[in-house]
């Protein structure tokens, strides 16, 4: 089961349709079972049942999650594969000691792959949809997998499948979520699974 975590400013918000449902639809299309939880409602049982976790993005003006990182501290202790998208990438970076800096970007940009990794295999440069007010300076123990002219676009923990992507893969890059789901299906393990 893939646990899809809604990071929007409140449970069942108007933003859920935009930032959570599209991810849920992509995961469903892969055949993987999923469960959606708002970040304020994630229970130990959800983490226990999950094989992987996706942390979804939020609206451009929504940074409530960043005031609530304490509640998301479990990300640091997580032994499951994690894919953090935009706000989710910021959550992953913050959990592991990275920095979050203002860096707004809206619209399509070219993303260049700079690090070897299963998810980005076969990709060199691809157009991606950006919608962020902040970007991250990756934590020390993370590798940079992809960049744009503006900021780091993808990171992975040096010892396992804990990912962050700044672009929104639900727009024209669904393959990122599909490959993450497939990797989870194959790996079924913790950070050392890859």
């Amino acid at each position: 089961m893939i646990l899809i975590v809604d990071l929007c400013w409140k449970e069942n918000s108007l933003s859920r349709y935009e930032f959570v449902s599209p991810i849920e639809n992509i995961v469903k299309s892969t055949g993987a079972p999923s469960r959606v939880r708002h970040y304020t409602a994630v229970q130990d049982a959800d983490l226990k049942d999950a094989d992987a976790i996706i942390l979804c993005g939020t609206a451009l003006k929504d940074n409530v999650f960043a005031e609530d990182f304490e509640r998301l501290a479990w990300v640091r202790e997580c032994t499951l594969p994690v894919l953090g998208i935009c706000a989710g990438m910021q959550t992953v970076a913050a959990a592991f000691g990275g920095r979050i800096e203002p860096n707004p970007e809206i619209g399509m940009t070219d993303v260049s792959v700079v690090g070897a990794d299963g998810i980005f295999a076969g990709k060199e440069v691809f157009p991606a949809y950006e919608l962020h007010s902040f970007a991250v300076v990756p934590p020390d123990n993370f590798d940079v997998l992809a960049v744009s002219d503006r900021c780091v676009q993808a990171i992975r923990h040096a010892s396992g499948p804990i990912y962050g992507v700044m672009f929104h893969p639900e727009v024209r890059n669904e393959w990122v979520v599909e490959r993450f789901a497939a990797m989870t299906e194959e790996g079924r393990g913790g950070p050392d699974a890859l």
């Binding site: 069942n12 108007l14 349709y17 935009e18 609206a59 003006k61 707004p104 619209g107 727009v171 024209r172």
Partner: protein, 226 residues
């Protein structure tokens, strides 16, 4: 949160409005009326009838005229959003964008510049579920324009009911068109919605059609009890 909904009169903006109403407070509709029928941003047939829809929904309408030239119309949209903020105190804007990065990006930028929230509640929605939702939730939608093969004249003014969706589905499988018309293949007009206190009755309309390109122009319409 007080929201203004960008409204072209079509199904996407009014369904987005309905979703927004279920979560937040919609305080006005915002309509751009382009002079250019080829407008990049704004759907055009019958857009002036958004005033009737606003009346049916008991919502004030902010209407701004635009020359409809690419990029300049963004200034007109910004002006309309500013008026909505001044008159109605909106804190955010809602759009009916489904797949258009062009449209979504530009509205996001305007909202960002003005410090407003931006919501796209149909963004990458499941097309089947959305079209079924329109029917199940009581929207009355007609086809107001066709701009692509294989749409023939019969589609102009046709109600999008279960039979029409089934036909659209078959066409989408055979041709390179989207089920929702998001690719610009069709435009629609909403005559009734669950939040309308009265429905729109079309009394006079005319159709023009040539070579897979046609519009259904509503000449006279009135509000009647539901």
């Amino acid at each position: 949160m007080r929201l203004g909904v960008l409204c072209s009169g079509g199904k996407d903006s009014l369904f987005a409005c309905w979703r927004a109403m279920q979560k937040e407070e919609v305080v006005c509709l915002i309509t751009i009326v382009p002079a250019n029928p080829e407008s990049y941003m704004f759907h055009t047939p019958n857009v002036r009838l958004a005033a009737l829809q606003a009346e049916a929904a008991d919502l004030p309408l902010v209407e701004v005229e635009s020359a409809g030239e690419e990029e300049k119309e963004l200034d007109d949209l910004r002006r309309a959003v500013l008026i909505a903020r001044e008159r109605h105190g909106i804190e955010g804007v809602v759009t009916g964008a489904i797949l258009s990065v062009y449209q979504a990006t530009r509205v996001q930028r305007i909202c960002h510049d003005l410090g407003l929230w931006c919501f796209n509640p149909l963004w990458h929605a499941d097309q089947e579920a959305y079209m079924q939702g329109l029917i199940d939730e009581g929207f009355a939608v007609i086809v107001a324009g066709v701009y692509s093969a294989p749409f023939d004249e019969r589609w102009l003014g046709r109600r999008i009911d279960a039979a029409a969706v089934a036909e659209l589905r078959a066409m989408a499988e055979k041709y390179r068109i989207t089920l929702t018309g998001e690719g610009g293949e069709i435009e629609t007009f909403v005559t009734d919605a669950p939040f309308f206190t009265r429905r729109i009755e079309i009394r006079e309309a005319s159709a023009e059609y040539k070579n897979y390109n046609g519009t259904y122009r509503i000449e006279k319409a009135v509000l009647v009890p539901k």
